[in-house]
Subunit: 349 residues, 2 copies
DNA sequence: TTGTAAGCGTTATCAA
DNA sequence: TTGATAACGCTTACAA
């Protein structure tokens, strides 16, 4: 391992000078600078990050805790973080809680969850990262604040809700749902069913608000019987689709709060001999990669996942002091495909 | 930040002693040990990893370079690596080359790719990781050895091929394809079409060998007209399915070398009014998460992704010296669902 | 413009 | 069993 010392000796200058050219402090003669640079290249010198970090006590490293990297949307968020870090030469040290593998329903296993988290937090704080991004799984509620807050680190929460006042970046559920509903209405649908997630969950409530807003804006009534609460799984989608469709006045379109439930709607339609979109329109939320392969390809609300990651990293690293107040809600956009039938086109605003 | 020094002073012992209890060297009196441990707890001491690494020149950190973390199978491999690291208290620093985002066809943009890689390698070598796992994307060929080999680090390649002699862990393509074919045969299929990836690619050749082996074992002829080379995309699957099915003696089942092409077969079937599995059986390879939502759910060869990651990490970290010779090929297993019709059951061995 | 030297928080060697 | 003390490779005053 070649060190500053080596290249100082070899160049015939002092170690301080070498350090100065390394850090571009400016106070080095152009000539010496060149010579130093040359021997660096010749000796294939690579600075030792540990030594530097130890001295400066900042690691140029961002910690990211993912509740589960295996979860659908997490990788693209990480990818966004990565892009920022690459642009600003930060490293990422990744902690993967592996929640889904270890605690199947972490609402009920909070203690175990805390153990896992504690271990990771410890590792993390011993590596003295400069900031921390916490990526949840499908916006489940997390109540881990006490642990993380002890760190006295700038922290950014992503893709998760929390009852505490905490900085986060997320996508705008309400806007996304409103957009989906609006799209349906623009395509002539007036009776729109919606398959929600669990009742009284933040995510459900937000999306429901968006749905409602779109209805109101277009002078359409909000009908209780069109609202069904599922568990975000495909079976649940199929079940509730059936219920919705056996109403006296069945909806002509169904909006599901995630794509998986939309797949369930597809399954029910297939089993009931209903054609999509001829007999029933469906629009999803989340735009999973598979949705383009569904038959017919599923129209869905696309999440700004990459952007969420990038925003979180930049907010965290650029205005560390202000991060505490940071609240970012990013807009979704519509991925139009072929699962919505145009009943009677109306003018789009 | 509380240091060894602080807790030494507070306990009234020397700093060396404190270090000894920290590292469990044993040469510390039980009584002093307890006192030290107590003040550690009281002061909430967390060791500084940088200082330790600097001194010991090993970081307890594993570098993982992912060509693209956004690629389907990568996260589950990373998850496997994570499990190992968690069990052995290693940290992971993640480098995401973001290949797919930046160079769309990296076969033709090798130079750009090298730039990206070089930058990452540099960062990586300056953080002095103890080992490196390189995760490819869908086993494309990578010729990056010169760069990485300069590192003089134990390196493990995962999910990628390379012409050089290099340690790797991967899944067994040949075995997987053989198993899929065997399954079809056991279900009474004798005319089996196969949708390959690009011609003369390692992955295609390996799987083709497995297909052929299964045929031979069962005394079935290998027919050239049943072999089609696609580009692993859905459109390609649809196109070749059509060709296969318009043969004078069309296959009763199609084996696709990835699930995406199987989705293409589904699309063609839908457009041609063919029912799966009644009119055509299909079996995929890779078992993407979405395959269980396809209609009907797609039977597919499941990859030991998590295990690949775990194996790579353990091989790398446990027998560093022997790693050079390491070659691991892990078996796939079959995920049976509903896309294969049983024509005439024969005895399964 | 350049050199010297102290110190970041550890580990490790040697004495005591 | 414990205590001093010299590194590890770097940054940063401060002095020359």
């Amino acid at each position: 391992m070649v060190t500053l010392h080596d290249i100082a000796r070899k160049t015939g200058v002092s170690i301080g000078t070498v350090s100065n050219v390394l850090n571009n402090t400016g106070r080095v003669g152009a000539d010496t600078r060149k010579r130093v640079l040359d021997t660096m290249a010749a000796l294939n010198y690579v600075p030792n990050k540990m030594a530097k970090s130890l001295k400066t006590s900042q690691s140029n490293t961002l910690g990211v805790i993912a509740e589960d990297i295996t979860s659908f949307d997490t990788p693209r968020i990480v990818d966004g973080i990565n892009e920022y870090c690459e642009d600003h030469s930060y490293s990422i040290t990744l902690y993967n809680l592996r929640i889904d593998n270890k605690v199947h329903d972490h609402f009920y296993l909070l203690e175990q969850y805390n153990d896992i988290l504690t271990r990771n937090i410890l590792a993390l704080s011993s590596s003295r990262v400069d900031g921390l991004i916490y990526i949840g799984v499908y916006k489940r509620n997390t109540e881990l604040l006490p642990l993380i807050q002890d760190l006295k680190l700038p922290v950014m929460y992503v893709y998760c809700y929390n009852s505490k006042e905490v900085p986060y970046v997320d996508y705008n559920d309400c806007q996304g749902a409103r957009m989906a509903t609006q799209y349906l209405i623009e395509n002539g649908h007036k009776r729109i069913g919606v398959l929600c997630g669990p009742v009284d969950t933040t995510i459900t409530n937000n999306q429901l608000a968006g749905y409602r807003a779109a209805l109101e804006e277009n002078g359409l009534p909000f009908r209780d019987e069109y609202i069904r609460y599922g568990n975000l799984e495909a079976v649940s989608g199929a079940y509730h689709a059936k219920r919705l469709l056996s109403l006296p006045e069945p909806p002509t379109a169904i909006f599901t709060m995630n794509d998986i439930m939309a797949y369930g709607v597809y399954q029910y339609a297939a089993s009931a001999g209903l054609r999509i979109p001829e007999d029933l329109s469906v629009i999803g939320f989340g735009n999973l990669p598979y949705s383009s392969y569904a038959i017919p390809p599923l129209t869905s609300v696309a999440l700004p996942l990459h952007e969420i990651g990038y925003t979180a990293a930049s907010a965290l690293l650029e205005n560390r002091e202000e991060v505490k107040k940071g609240r970012y809600l990013l807009d979704c956009c519509l991925q139009e495909r072929a699962s919505v039938k145009c009943l009677s086109p109306i003018h789009r605003k």
